[in-house]
Each structure stands twice: as structure tokens, then as C-alpha cells.
């Protein structure tokens, strides 16, 4: 269905995942193109987060696989996925609570930097320069998501909306090619959702492809270039929002047949 689209960044090929007898994902194939905002929606328990976890290496798929940026994604460890350029946020925010906002983003640079124990001990010039660069990049990213004034606060003391932003900043610190957002608007009010929409749009404009899992159908339809709908672990449709919105199967999946 989605074969041979130009400029693919991530191709899922018949990805399957079972939990005991539950088929959480059944042969899901889809393609995310470079530079787009790709929406993944579906009712509760449709398999959205499972798909996400397979892709980012948290789960190992039982069948099928992924091709990312032209090479197979051996998704057996999350840190490898991050190194390849897939960054994610979590549905229930997972920040490093007892570290400051700035430190949270600085940790995000880990995968793109390389100072080791000896460098830290002897503080050689290369390590110092790298550390300064990490700090500067982290400050820039805090500005980018507009929470720079909270830089020195423990991340657990940030407001809910700021924590969401911080998690995005931390993910961006890994220089991702694909940024995966797992229900970023969950629990947000109208104003906050609108600000988030602007942020996500801005990130895409600055060149990062985005995969968005979301419950807020209005946000998804307004923001995404293309949308895939999952129901009971299977792909229902993958198309532009205007087509998806009118699709009878999607309406049934959401409203119950």
C-alpha cells in the first residue's frame, strides 16, 4: 500500500508483535518520508505505543522489521536506535527528576559526544571544549523550547507543560533524524496544545521529520501531512488527513460499529 514513496526515512515492513495470545501488532507496514509530520492514531489499545516501542528498540518485534535511512534498523537495543537518529518522548513523561532541566538536555548529548573517564579525570583540552559545547547546545535547546528561565530547576519541579517541552528538548539534543512524540498533548489545555502545535511545526521546519502519536484528532488532522490509523493492531489506512477523516472504517473504529 505504501511502497515506493519517494524519500523514505523509515519503512516498517510487516511488523508483528504478540504478547501471549494478544496480537498487539499484525503485519503493520507503513512509510514515513523525510521532512513530513506523520500522524499515528487509533483508539486506546490499538497498538500505537507498541509500534513505537518496537521501532525504538524497547521491544523486539516477533515478525517483520524496519528500514531506517536506507539501512535495516537492528532494533534490539534502544541506545542503538538513538545512535541511528531516532529520538522519542514518552506518553507518561520520563525525565531525570533529580537533575536540573539543563542537565537533562546535556545528558541528551551523550550519544553525540565521546569524553570518557580519563578525559573527565584529567580535564584535557578536548574534554573541556566538548563540555562547553554540550552546555551551549543544551542552553540553545532550552531557548528553542522556551523554558530557558527554568534551566537550573530540578526537572521534577517544572510544570506539566514545561516538562513536556523539556522532554522534547532532551530528545532534540540527540540530533535526531526522526523525532517520535508519544501523545505530547495528553493532559494539555487548549492554549498549551496550540503552543505545542507551533513548536512541533517549527521543529519540522528546521528539518526534523516527526512521528506523532496522538489522541487529539483535531491536532493530528491540522498538523500532519499524512496519517496512519491503527485498530486492533492492524493498519486500517495510511493517507492524507482529508481522506482519512472521511474513511468509513476509521469512523467505525473510533465510534464503534
Amino acid at each position: 500500500m505504501s511502497a515506493n514513496l519517494p524519500n523514505p526515512l523509515l519503512e516498517a515492513k510487516a511488523v508483528a508483535k504478540h504478547f501471549g495470545g494478544v496480537k498487539a501488532l499484525q503485519d503493520v507496514s507503513l512509510t514515513i518520508r523525510k521532512g513530513e509530520i506523520y500522524g499515528l492514531i487509533g483508539p486506546n489499545g490499538a497498538g500505537k505505543t507498541t509500534f513505537f516501542n518496537c521501532m525504538t528498540g524497547l521491544y523486539v518485534p516477533d515478525g517483520g522489521g524496519f528500514v531506517f535511512d536506507g539501512a535495516p534498523l537492528v532494533a534490539d537495543a534502544p541506545d542503538k536506535a538513538a545512535a541511528r537518529g531516532i529520538a522519542r518522548t514518552f506518553q507518561n513523561i520520563r525525565l531525570f527528576g533529580n537533575m536540573t532541566a539543563l542537565e537533562n538536555v546535556m545528558v541528551g548529548r551523550h550519544v553525540r559526544t565521546k569524553a570518557g573517564v580519563l578525559g573527565a579525570m584529567f580535564q584535557n583540552a578536548a574534554t573541556k571544549a566538548e563540555e562547553a559545547a554540550i552546555r551551549q547546545k543544551a542552553i540553545d535547546l532550552l531557548h528553542y523550547v522556551r523554558i530557558e528561565e527554568r534551566a537550573d530547576d530540578l526537572s521534577r519541579n517544572l510544570s506539566y507543560g514545561d516538562q513536556r517541552r523539556l522532554e522534547i528538548a532532551r530528545a532534540l539534543a540527540t540530533d535526531p533524524k526522526l523525532l517520535c512524540l508519544d501523545e505530547p498533548a495528553a493532559g494539555m489545555n487548549g492554549t498549551e496544545t496550540e503552543q505545542l502545535r507551533e513548536l512541533i511545526d517549527g521543529i519540522r521546519r528546521d528539518g526534523t521529520t516527526i512521528l506523532l502519536i496522538e489522541h487529539d484528532v483535531k491536532l493530528v488532522m491540522g498538523l500532519c501531512d499524512r496519517v496512519a490509523v491503527l485498530d486492533y493492531g492492524a493498519l486500517v489506512i495510511e493517507d492524507v488527513p482529508a481522506v482519512v477523516q472521511k474513511d468509513q472504517r476509521v469512523i467505525e473504529a473510533y465510534l464503534g460499529a
Partner: protein
């Protein structure tokens, strides 16, 4: 008052240095036993800071830390005593001890990578006991450790002809053995403090803290948690190994008794009581927990005589009672430790309102 800035200012450094230099001479007025207690306080600072890397930074609850200390102590004892007739120099033994302890850290670390919290604590506790029991029983068929009798006549630390045991005259000052060890230990402790501070504010240190806070999120941003946990175990263990070597040389005698579970628990208590992950707190915890029991040992008896005119309670058991009570009270009223990091303190004040 900002202590960090104080210790970095010239006046602060000068005052601290003067205090540290004067301390063993003041203590000597009460007898060499007090200097020896100081030596142990600093040795425990060293150990607690090593454990702080594992527990405070990486968040891996290690109840068998004393095992690495034992490995270092026996490495020194076997390579510098008449037991095997070996008398290797310090620059060979200390790195060997550290390396062996480091290896032991990796051996303990690799099967426990997926464990956290209580489960990890149980496994590490078992590991610590295994090492002690090994040392106790490795006297047959080949006598390696001399079993429960331990190893005696261990060489003191020496650089060339300069020995750390016995009294020497330097610039007209008579320096006793414990006083010389004191200065050696202070130098080592300063080194380990610098390493700790630098590690904490480095790429590796931040990754450790990230693992402590949320392992799944740490993995998701590309941290190889397996390698970093092994690194934390290895680093902490090598510090333990170095401390063990010095302990061995200072005492001139080691036996498996010195490496029991209670020792591991004491070191952990120093880290927790002082303020987990906060270096000044850990130092304070180590000094207090070493000195306080000794003060009680010498103070409780005379105090009773002065107040009641006779011994009401056996000083030895009262000592542990007061000590235990002090620990409970600190944890009740200062749950983040006596000297927690500023962030941690602020947070507790905020939630405590």
C-alpha cells in the same frame, strides 16, 4: 554561606590545609590511638567516596562493597609479606590491587546488569559474603590466604628507604607511623575527591545519574546502560582496592574478619547518612561514623562515673545503643542526609511545607 566557593578561595584552601596539617599533632596529644582513628576516618572517606560512585551517582545499591576492599587488602598482603616471601614495591602492588578489585567489580557487575534496587542489594550482599568465605577457606589444599588466621608481618608502605612505619625525624619534628600514614591518606583522599567532583560533572557522570533516575529514558536517548553500569562498578571497586591495599600496609595484618557484612553496611550508612551523591556530605558521613563510635567508646564510661558515680551500663553495649539511636534520629529528621546537595535540600523543604 557557599561552602563550595569557600573551599576554592585562597583563604579557604589555606585554612583547610592548616587545619588538616595541624590535626594529627593535636590528636597525638590524646595519644597515638587518636591519630590512628583519624587515619581510619580518612580511609573510610576514601571508601565512602568510592561507593558513592556506585550508589550515589549510578544508583546501584551495592551491599557487598567491602569485597573489593578485601581484594585490594589481600593483594597487598600476598605480594608484600613473608607469606609467599614476596616484597614487591608499592608502585607495582597498588595498581595490581586496584586492577584485581576492578576485575572483581566487573565480575560482580556483569550478571547483575538487569537487577535493580532490592534485588541487586541481595546479590551484591551475597557476593560480599562469598569473597569473605573464600578468604576464610583458601588455606587448603594450597595455602593461599592462610585462612582465618590471616596474614601477618605485612610490609608497610615505603618509598625507597622512607618507611611509613615507626617514627622518623623530619625537620626536627618527630613523625610517628600513624601520622605519616595520615598525610599519605589525606593526599590520596584529596585525589579521590578531585576525581569524584570531576566525574560527577562530566559526560560519564551525567549518564550515571540519568541511569539512576530513569533507566528506560536513559536508554532511549542513547546511553549504553550496560557498559556504563559496568564502568560504575569497576570504578567504585578500584577505589575500594586501593583503600584495601593501604589498610593492609597500615595494619600489618589482615584476616577475613575485617571484611564482614557489617563493614559494607557501615560504608553504605556513611554515604546515606552524609547525603547520597553529595561529595561533602559523604565525607562528613564517613568522618562522623568513624569518629563517633570511638568518642563514645572513650567517653561513655567516664561520663557515667562523673554523673552517677558508678558504672550503670556496660560502656560497650551503650556505645552501640547511642550510635544506633543517633542513626535513627538523623534519618528521621534529616531524611536526605546530614549535608544533602542544595537541590535535594530545596526540594525536601518545598515538599515538607
Amino acid at each position: 554561606m557557599n561552602f563550595g566557593r569557600f573551599f576554592r578561595s585562597t583563604a579557604g584552601i589555606a585554612l583547610t590545609a592548616a587545619f588538616l596539617i595541624a590535626l594529627p599533632f593535636v590528636a597525638a596529644m590524646g595519644g597515638q590511638a587518636w591519630v590512628r582513628i583519624l587515619d581510619f576516618a580518612i580511609l573510610y572517606v576514601f571508601l565512602a567516596l568510592g561507593l558513592n560512585i556506585v550508589v550515589g551517582l549510578a544508583g546501584l545499591l551495592d551491599l557487598g562493597y567491602i569485597a573489593f576492599y578485601a581484594v585490594g587488602a589481600y593483594a597487598w598482603a600476598l605480594l608484600a609479606s613473608p607469606h609467599f616471601g614476596l616484597h614487591w614495591p608499592i608502585w607495582a602492588i597498588l595498581p595490581i590491587g586496584a586492577a584485581l578489585a576492578c576485575l572483581a567489580g566487573v565480575v560482580l557487575g556483569s550478571p547483575t546488569l538487569k537487577l535493580r534496587g532490592d534485588y541487586l542489594a541481595i546479590v551484591t550482599l551475597g557476593f560480599g559474603e562469598i569473597v569473605r568465605i573464600f578468604l576464610n577457606n583458601l588455606n587448603s589444599p594450597i595455602n593461599v590466604t592462610n585462612g582465618p588466621q590471616g596474614i601477618t608481618l605485612i610490609d608497610p608502605v615505603s618509598f625507597g628507604a622512607f618507611k611509613f612505619s615507626g617514627t622518623t625525624q623530619i625537620f626536627g619534628f618527630a613523625l610517628s607511623g600513624p601520622q605519616k600514614y595520615y598525610f599519605l591518606l589525606v593526599a590520596l583522599a584529596i585525589l579521590v575527591i578531585i576525581i569524584n567532583v570531576r566525574l560527577q560533572n562530566s559526560r560519564i557522570g551525567r549518564a550515571w545519574q540519568a541511569i539512576r533516575e530513569d533507566e528506560i529514558a536513559a536508554k532511549a536517548i542513547g546511553i549504553n546502560t550496560r557498559n556504563l553500569k559496568l564502568l560504575a562498578f569497576a570504578m567504585g571497586a578500584s577505589f575500594g582496592g586501593v583503600a584495601g591495599g593501604i589498610f593492609s600496609a597500615m595494619q600489618g595484618f589482615v584476616s577475613p574478619e575485617s571484611f564482614s557484612l557489617i563493614e559494607s553496611i557501615m560504608i553504605l550508612a556513611m554515604v546515606v547518612l552524609g547525603g547520597m551523591g553529595h561529595i561533602p556530605g559523604v565525607i562528613l558521613g564517613a568522618v562522623l561514623l568513624t569518629v563517633l563510635p570511638e568518642v563514645l567508646r572513650y567517653g561513655v564510661g567516664p561520663l557515667q562515673m562523673a554523673v552517677f558515680g558508678k558504672m550503670l551500663v556496660d560502656p560497650e553495649s551503650l556505645r552501640m545503643l547511642v550510635f544506633g539511636l543517633a542513626l535513627v534520629l538523623v534519618m528521621r529528621f534529616k531524611p536526605a542526609g546530614l549535608w544533602p546537595s542544595p537541590e535535594r535540600k530545596r526540594e525536601l523543604q518545598e515538599t515538607g511545607k
